[in-house]
Every structure is written in structure tokens, then in C-alpha cells.
Symmetry: C2
């Protein structure tokens, strides 16, 4: 949130590069939406919920069991996922069943896992 203070000498900022980046980069509101999306994946509890729903439709109490967490905490996180349209739900009597509402989610997580595995191979094996 700063302005007008040039960081280094007049020669330093590489304006050709900077302009190239500016041309191609996401727009301001896309950055916001992207970071909000990644925030949802950035918490272990939500991540476990998402991964649990990848292949199975589950009710709230199933998720409590799986996460070993109380109902309120789970419901609060489900609300966030609902608001962002990442999960959908249906009522069946007293229970409410949640499931994923997106095809990209699995790919995003898989790719992040690939990164982690590769990172571990780099560090673990070659040193």
C-alpha cells in the first residue's frame, strides 16, 4: 500500500521485463479470487474435508468422525466451502450430505502432491 518511493536507482527497475509481466498477468480481481480460493485449501481441516469428499458423499457427522473434530468446527468450515461453491449438499431427513461441486479441485490437489513428492525426492535421495 505504498507509492511514489522509488526503491532502487533509476537504472535498476527493468522496465521492459516489468511491462512484459504487466501485459500477461492476471487482473486485480482475479488475484483476489485466486488467493481466496487457495485460502480454502490452506487449512488442514478444510483440506481434509475436501479430500474426504473427493470420492464419497458424506454427512457432517461422518466428517466429525474422520477429522476427530467437534460438530461446530466442522460446520463452520463447511459453511466457508459452501459459500465458495466448492461443495454442494442435499438434505436426507435430519442429515445433510455434502459432496464436491467442482472438477478442478482434484487436479489442483494432485498437482500439489506431485510437487511435494518431487521435492522430497530431490532432498531425500540425492543428498
Amino acid at each position: 500500500m505504498e507509492e511514489d518511493k522509488l526503491v532502487c536507482s533509476e537504472k535498476c527497475p527493468h522496465f521492459n521485463k516489468i511491462n512484459k509481466v504487466k501485459e500477461r498477468e492476471p487482473k486485480a480481481d482475479e488475484y483476489l479470487k485466486l488467493s481466496n480460493m487457495f485460502k480454502l485449501f490452506a487449512d488442514e481441516t478444510r483440506l481434509k474435508i475436501i479430500c474426504s469428499l473427493l470420492k464419497e458423499e458424506l454427512c457432517v457427522c461422518d466428517l466429525c468422525e474422520l477429522l476427530n473434530l467437534n460438530q461446530s468446527a466442522v460446520s463452520h468450515q463447511l459453511q466457508l466451502l459452501r459459500n465458495s461453491k466448492l461443495v454442494k449438499f442435499r438434505r436426507e431427513g435430519k442429515q445433510i450430505f455434502y459432496s464436491l461441486d467442482d472438477e478442478h479441485v482434484e487436479l489442483i490437489i494432485q498437482m500439489a502432491l506431485d510437487h511435494i513428492v518431487e521435492e522430497e525426492e530431490k532432498n531425500g535421495k540425492l543428498l
Copy 2:
């Protein structure tokens, strides 16, 4: 961080489903690493840094210009990205040039963008 309090009736938790999920789900330390990875993408500043480095190697002051943010803030975020091996750097005189150190990053961001675009189409066009 709770235990022993069964959330709903004995009939409710669908143990067959729960066990299926448990078989396939990531391990505890993988969840931790995943969420830590996504935390890096979950902040607008870091996201802008990452996207800026997608195609161009840039020095710290270039990033300050691009993000319109002071040098200290940028350096702090770069440190986080460095620690997680998401970016690498090389010295050239007084300047330090940063670049991405991962091939998955671009795919992850692209997929998240796809999700956002699709979401907008769903909401904007069809209603």
C-alpha cells in the same frame, strides 16, 4: 482436537464410507505439507510475486515496482517462498534475481483460474 464424544447416534456415522476414505486419503504429514504449500498461494502479495516470476526472472526492486509495495515487505515474502523451495535466486553484483523453481506451480494456478472462470460463467451467464 477432540476425542471420545460420538457426534450423532450409533447408526449415523457411515463406517463403510469412512473406512473407504481412510484407505485412500493422504497421510497426516502430507496434509500438513499440502496446506503449507497452499498457504503460500493464499496471499495476494505472494501470488503476485509467483505469477510475476512465471515467465520472467526479476530482481527484488522489480517486484517492488510491480506490486507497488516497499522492499521490506517484498523481501519478507520472498524469504517464505525461498524457504519452501518455490523460488530460487542468483546474485549479480548488488542485485539478486529471483525465479521460479518448480514446474507444477503454473499448472496449479492455471487450474484455479479455470475454476474461477467456470464459476463466473455458471453464475453470470445462466441466471
